[in-house]
Amino acid sequence: MDREEITGIVTEIMCDVFDLDELDYSDGLSAEVIEEWDSLSHIRFIVAVEKRFGFRFSSAEIEGFSKVGDLVDSIAAHIG
């Protein structure tokens, strides 16, 4: 799966979890930009990504995510 496919799926999950009608994906998106992104929906977002891609992040990986691009990189590394 290439990075573009991953970002496509992540965008879908973000729309679902953050209840957005549309989203222009960019690696720099973060909780500061998306209003619905709070500590609780963040957890649901992570869990939804894990379920969709079929692996689990470590606590250290989760702590290392400051923007969506970091998460996509980590997904790519896990399923690569």
Partner: protein, 631 residues
């Protein structure tokens, strides 16, 4: 069945969930039916939160949709926002219009022990006390036996103090939770034997907590059981606990919220009352009309036959705890009854017999119409029915016609039927008393009474033939749970629809300014148990009726005249001049609009809210002769 967190009795959430929710959110007025149908599906945590937001935003619009309002306070020692955000949608699934008052994280003692706390001031109807093993000091072992005992006692004392605070300051019953044991062992199997291991501490705590709740008026959510049912390794998510103090895995939230919603509904008297069973391929394998009594699969060591027999055993167990059983089958009546009775006493393996079935409908009418008839015969609402049928087309027809009937998805393998029906928790209860033990028999007796009525020519003879004994007594401890149950369940024959908790009932029983009555009725077919509850406020001149309700099971038996004679005599003896009453209209109590007029009261006021006020002059009141013995 592979996903342990799934709610398999519900239809899956629709693929276009967000579009549907958006349509509901933007419609004016709100389509309450569409929203209720949407939450009847297996929503995940995100979907529950989104649907809950719509519920909370449209509370005013939904208030008229026949839902029972309930304000829940939540006090937790861990993050509980996720629970608070998911609950309104999960509670709507169970017929409740829920609002949540969430105390600040980790402020359990302040919220419950301070009468001025915002939680206490919000006057919740119930308070969820969600404490974790860490907060209770039960998360680390202490292997000194005396210290282990003391540790459990300290934890229970803390919970008891919070429960007392909730009662005293917020006036609300508490929902306590058992603790899920940890996945990790200290020794292994030996943990269970050794006082002071975490597994031992939690097992002791749970057992003693549940014992302390029984009969207290508080409730318990058995989280330990929920966790066990999905598996402890799935339930606990150490990462989320360390990172965000979430008490369990995110995937477990829909199950937790559904079970809490069901418990709250049971607290409000909204549990289902009757299990309606299909026959072919539900109670036995095969088609009785085609395969005949020797051809159907039931027991006999066949896997399929044993699975169907297990369904019968479960139905019988439910009946023994007060669930009424009915049959609804597309069949010739004679064929359908064959296994129940038959030429040689029925099918030899049958556990269910005709006498267990309160209403037996086998015909070719559509099932929704038959379900309406079953409800009418039993004098209960269709919203009290659960319909068990292996045929997806029949289930869909019933869901379409009667969305208020609970229709579990039971899959295609009879081996799963019992488990899915049990997991769904339609018959959740918060107490179990003598009334519950004999309820199913009472409903069967009612069917016999209906038959008796056709054999006597007039009402007077019918009443005389019943040999009724009516017992009237003031509220007491033994009756408290049933009184509260009736006060919460009775909608139709209920003049004021005031709801009372067990604690309220205890307070009223002890209040010398109140006159209370619990009324029982027995007849030659059986004991109907407690069927009517009345509360009067005693005044010097007049006694005012605050609550008058009666079970519809005993409509038309002149019980209301008997209780009026009883209270009139007591008021007269106390020197009062009249009885006064009011009728407060609700969505369901039109049947008692003329109740006071029928009893000889004179209307004294028409209120702007549609209510009416009534008075009965005790000077001129004449006690009627009644067709029953009064005790």
């Amino acid at each position: 069945m592979s996903d342990p967190f799934a709610l398999p009795w519900l239809l899956p959430a629709p693929a276009d969930f967000r579009a549907r929710l958006k349509a509901i959110r933007t419609a004016d007025p709100i389509d309450a039916g569409a929203l209720r149908a949407l939450v009847q599906t297996a929503l995940d945590a995100t979907q529950l939160e989104q649907a809950s937001r719509v519920v909370s935003a449209r509370v005013g619009d939904l208030a008229g949709a026949g839902l029972r309002p309930l304000k829940l306070g939540i006090v937790a020692s861990h993050t509980a926002k996720g629970i608070a955000y998911a609950l309104p949608a999960a509670a709507l699934r169970h017929g409740l219009l829920l609002s949540v008052e969430l105390a600040d994280y980790g402020q359990a003692a302040q919220a419950l022990l301070d009468p001025g706390s915002s939680l206490a001031q919000s006057r919740p109807d119930a308070i969820l006390l969600a404490l974790d093993a860490q907060a209770l000091g039960l998360a680390r072992p202490c292997l000194d036996p005396a210290e282990a005992e003391a540790t459990v006692t300290r934890a229970l004392d803390y919970v008891a103090a919070l429960r007392a605070g909730a009662r005293d300051h917020a006036g609300a019953p508490v929902i306590v939770q058992t603790l899920a044991p940890p996945v990790e062992s200290l020794f292994g199997s030996y943990d269970g034997q050794l006082a002071g291991t975490v597994r031992w501490l939690i097992a002791e705590f749970n057992a003693r907590l549940l014992r302390s709740v029984a009969g207290s008026g508080d409730l318990a959510l058995d989280v330990a059981f929920l966790a066990a049912s999905v598996g402890l390794r799935q339930w606990h998510d150490a990462r989320l606990w360390h990172d965000a103090k979430l008490p369990f895995a995110v995937e477990a939230l829909p199950l937790y919220a559904d079970k809490l919603g069901g418990l709250l509904a049971a607290f409000r008297g909204l549990s289902r009352k009757c299990l309606v069973l299909d026959l072919d391929n539900t109670l036995w394998g095969g088609i009785i009309g085609d395969d005949g009594i020797d051809g159907i699969l039931l027991g006999q060591g066949s896997g399929t036959g044993e699975a169907h027999l297990a369904v019968q055993a479960f139905a019988l167990d439910l009946r023994a705890r007060g669930v009424v059983l009915a049959v609804c089958s597309k069949n010739e009546d004679s064929a359908a009854r064959l296994p129940f009775i038959g030429p040689n006493g029925g099918h030899s393996e049958m556990l269910l017999r005709e006498e267990h079935i309160a209403v037996f409908l086998a015909n070719w009418t559509d099932k929704a119409s038959n379900l309406r008839q079953i409800a009418a015969t039993l004098n209960i609402g269709t919203d009290a029915l659960v319909f068990l049928d292996d045929n997806p087309a029949e289930r869909a027809q019933v869901r379409q016609e009667l969305p208020e009937v609970a229709v579990p998805e039971i899959g295609s393998d009879p081996a799963d039927f019992t488990r899915i029906l049990g997991q769904a928790g339609y018959f959740e209860a918060v107490s179990f008393g003598a009334e519950d033990r004999s309820r199913a028999a009472m409903y069967s007796a009612n069917a016999q009474r209906a038959a008796a009525m056709t054999s006597v020519s007039n009402l007077h003879d019918y009443h005389a033939s019943l040999e009724m004994v009516c017992t009237i007594a003031p509220f007491d401890d033994a009756g408290r749970a049933r009184i509260a149950q009736l006060a919460n369940k009775s909608n139709q024959f209920n003049l004021t629809t005031r709801r009372y908790t067990e604690a309220d009932i205890a307070a009223i029983a002890a209040d010398p300014t109140r006159f209370t009555m619990q009324v029982r009725l027995a007849d030659r077919f059986g004991d109907n148990g407690m069927i009517s509850v009345l509360i009067f406020a005693r005044g010097a001149e007049e006694w005012r009726c605050e609550t008058w309700l009666m079970s519809c099971r005993v409509l038309g038996r002149r019980v209301e005249e008997a209780v009026l004679a009883h209270v009139a005599a007591a008021a007269r003896a106390a020197g009062a001049a009249r009885l006064v009453g009011e009728y407060i209209p609700s969505a369901k109590n039109a049947m008692v609009r003329d109740h006071f007029a029928k009893l000889g009261f004179v209307k004294t006021a028409d209120r702007a809210d549609g209510g009416t006020e009534w008075a009965l002059d005790l000077e001129t009141y004449v006690t009627p002769t009644l067709p029953m013995i009064l005790e």
